[in-house]
């Protein structure tokens, strides 16, 4: 039911993205914006690097005690009158959500932004079962109208230009005057606000994600800038929280560590506008709030990676900083990655969630430049983990045969220095002679990948080792 990945077509997807003019415009705007705002904000927090260390250590501690904290969380939720539903996979989670919606004959469900909801394809599933899901995050709303998936963890409509938003709204809001002026972004936002307000007030169920689950308080946490998540979880009769297992944190004090690094990493804000802790349904004397509070705890393959060489990816707090700083993402955007998560973290998570055989190119679609790791708030060693995926691909013979043969041939020589020097001597001469006076080659045997977009600089005729030998001979 969830979205079928096209990650194996990364190269083709990327080629399309590189030719997509509006996308390239949108990516350019986003790149300039996000890098600088993060830098400015981080500069105002001298403890930022220490907070990152603590965030990493905290997450490692949680991952080593995950059963304990989840059970504590469950008990705390029950104590406050809420319910916890343990769902090993997407299918059981979808079924549980539908079951809860059916208890109140829900017709409309409002949704706050939830990546796990995207991951399990909850929208399509509810729709197929006669329930209308309404995305309320502005970016999610835009892509829902366009029938797209998010292209960024925190900016789902990052790939859409303002002009495209206008087109989308004109096509979708057919009840409004077609001649209305939608020239500026403020008017577009006001129109979405108006449209969604009606949705908030009529929804029977509100579904949100969770940035954190506070174990000792039984509280879930959402962090937003728009306030849509709060309307989603306050107005309907039922509040359903979709959360993956690694979101649990021991206490509010620990959550503060992550809150102090999340917004700074994500949007370059000192703090997001709304951080809300929700525990249980409304209290008897409360004047508003939902009557039921359900937490759907979802594993969906994560626990299988505990204790593995890829475990550290479970530290991720979904800030999107690795996307914002990734030169590959800057070139191709999120959709080229072919599934829900994109960028460096997407290249780690997608193989985990859809199977590495369905996401073969992703761990390889990185120069391992390390800029992602340098900004990750919980210091996930993304290049190392990408390499670990590559090792799994290599050992399971997922790596393409041509590449394996090339590597084998290269390794055979590299492990035999005498042979290596002989072959490189021949190669140095050959490339030098092929280039002639020109100094570079616009095509060369076996180098089409290189010469498609660049020339190949020529050699200088003789290898260093050959010349060094000759010099040393002359010296002694």
């Amino acid at each position: 039911m969830s979205f079928v990945p096209t990650s194996n077509a990364f190269k083709e997807n990327a080629a399309g993205a590189l030719k997509d003019v509006p996308l390239q415009e949108a990516l350019g705007i986003a790149r300039h914006h996000s890098i600088q705002t993060r830098l400015n904000t981080v500069a105002k927090m001298p403890e930022f690097e220490s907070l990152r260390d603590i965030g990493r250590d905290l997450k490692n501690h949680i991952i080593a005690n995950l059963d304990h904290y989840l059970l504590q969380f469950e008990q705390s939720v029950i104590d406050r009158g809420g319910k916890v539903h343990w769902c090993p996979d997407g299918e059981s989670a979808r079924a549980k959500v539908l079951e809860i919606c059916r208890t109140v004959n829900a017709k409309t469900v409002t949704k706050g932004k939830t990546m796990i909801g995207e991951e399990i394809g909850i929208n399509d599933f509810l729709f197929a079962n006669g329930i209308e899901p309404v995305e309320t995050d502005l970016g999610e709303y835009i892509i829902q109208l366009r029938g797209e998936t998010p292209s960024h963890i925190i900016g789902p409509a990052l790939h859409v230009t303002k002009a495209q938003v206008e087109e989308t709204f004109r096509a979708a809001h057919t009840d409004l005057d077609p001649k209305r002026n939608l020239d500026d972004a403020a008017t577009l936002m006001a129109e979405a606000r108006e449209k969604l307000r009606a949705g908030f007030l009529k929804a029977d169920v509100g579904i949100t994600g969770a940035n954190f689950l506070i174990a000792d308080e039984g509280a879930t946490t959402i962090v937003t800038n728009e306030g849509n998540g709060d309307l989603t979880q306050t107005l309907p009769r039922i509040h359903i929280v979709l959360a993956s297992i690694e979101k649990v944190v021991p206490s509010l004090k620990d959550a503060m560590t992550l809150l102090r690094i999340l917004a700074r990493s994500a949007t370059g804000q000192e703090q997001s506008v709304y951080t809300t802790f929700s525990s249980g349904p409304r209290r008897p004397s409360d004047l508003d709030g939902p009557e039921e509070f359900h937490v759907v705890l979802i594993d969906n393959g994560r626990s299988a990676y505990l204790g593995s060489d890829l475990e550290e990816m479970l530290r991720c707090i979904r800030c999107g900083a690795c996307l914002d700083h990734c030169p590959v993402y800057h070139s191709v955007g999120g959709h080229a990655y072919g599934w829900v998560y994109s960028g460096p973290i997407g290249s780690l998570l997608t193989p985990m969630l859809v199977g590495v055989e369905n996401a073969k190119p992703l761990p390889n679609a990185s120069t391992l430049c390390g800029r992602c790791e340098s900004v990750c708030p919980v210091r996930i060693p993304i290049p190392k983990l990408l390499r670990n995926w590559r090792e799994r691909e290599f050992s399971r013979a997922i790596t393409p045969q041509t590449e394996r043969s090339g590597l084998w041939f290269w390794a055979f020589m590299a492990k035999r220095p005498l042979l290596y020097r002989l072959v490189t001597r021949i190669g140095a001469r050959a490339l030098f002679n092929l280039a002639g006076q020109h100094g570079r080659l616009s095509s060369a045997p076996l180098a089409s990948g290189w010469t498609k977009h660049r020339d190949l600089p020529a050699t200088q005729g003789r290898t260093f080792q050959e010349q060094w030998k000759a010099k040393k001979g002359a010296r002694s």
Binding site: W86, N225, V273, G307
Partner: protein
Amino acid sequence: MSTSGTGRDRMLASIRAGISRQADRRHGEPAPSKPTPLIPARATAPGVDVVGLFRTQLINAKATLDEVASRDDVPAAVARYLANNNFEARVRLSPDARVSSLPWDKAPMVETSSGRSHGNDPTSVTPAVAAVAETGTMVLQSSDGTPTTLHFLPDQHVVVIAKSQIVGTYEDALARVKRGPDGSLPRTVNFVTGPSRSADIGKILLMGAHGPKKLHVIVVDGEL
């Protein structure tokens, strides 16, 4: 993963299997312990002007600020805020006494009512648990006198606090949340740092996405 048993049993079994793999990888080393949280010095260092920091950070968060001498001055300050910005002279108050018992008769032009919001209140006036200097954040909670809908549905949200409610850090503010008899958190605790906003259209930052378009804070020098 085993396919028998309840989802809960299967998930816990799989998680525990993973945790024993971790133990194997650690070669007998203990599991990582929980680190001690670090509270930034910005609002806690000796000599920090917490109120001054709050003022600066509140403005940085794109909220507006008014300061009055006593609780009796609040209704006039609200009336002034509405008039100066050309907002409708009608406010929805939290039933909480800190707001509803203010001398609203001193602002006869302002129509008041109290209770939760159903989505047709232009402006709300609410109290807060505390205000946090480190990022200019208002901390609000749900209770029988402070409905959460007033924090999100109106176009303008006015928060009234006493100066003594301004604290340095989130931790200080959380310590002031009024808990249930069993020690539990209220249904909702909101950290609010400025008015609602979005940059989802072309990365252009705009105020007033879904929540209040304006956040206005009135600080009372005396008690509320």
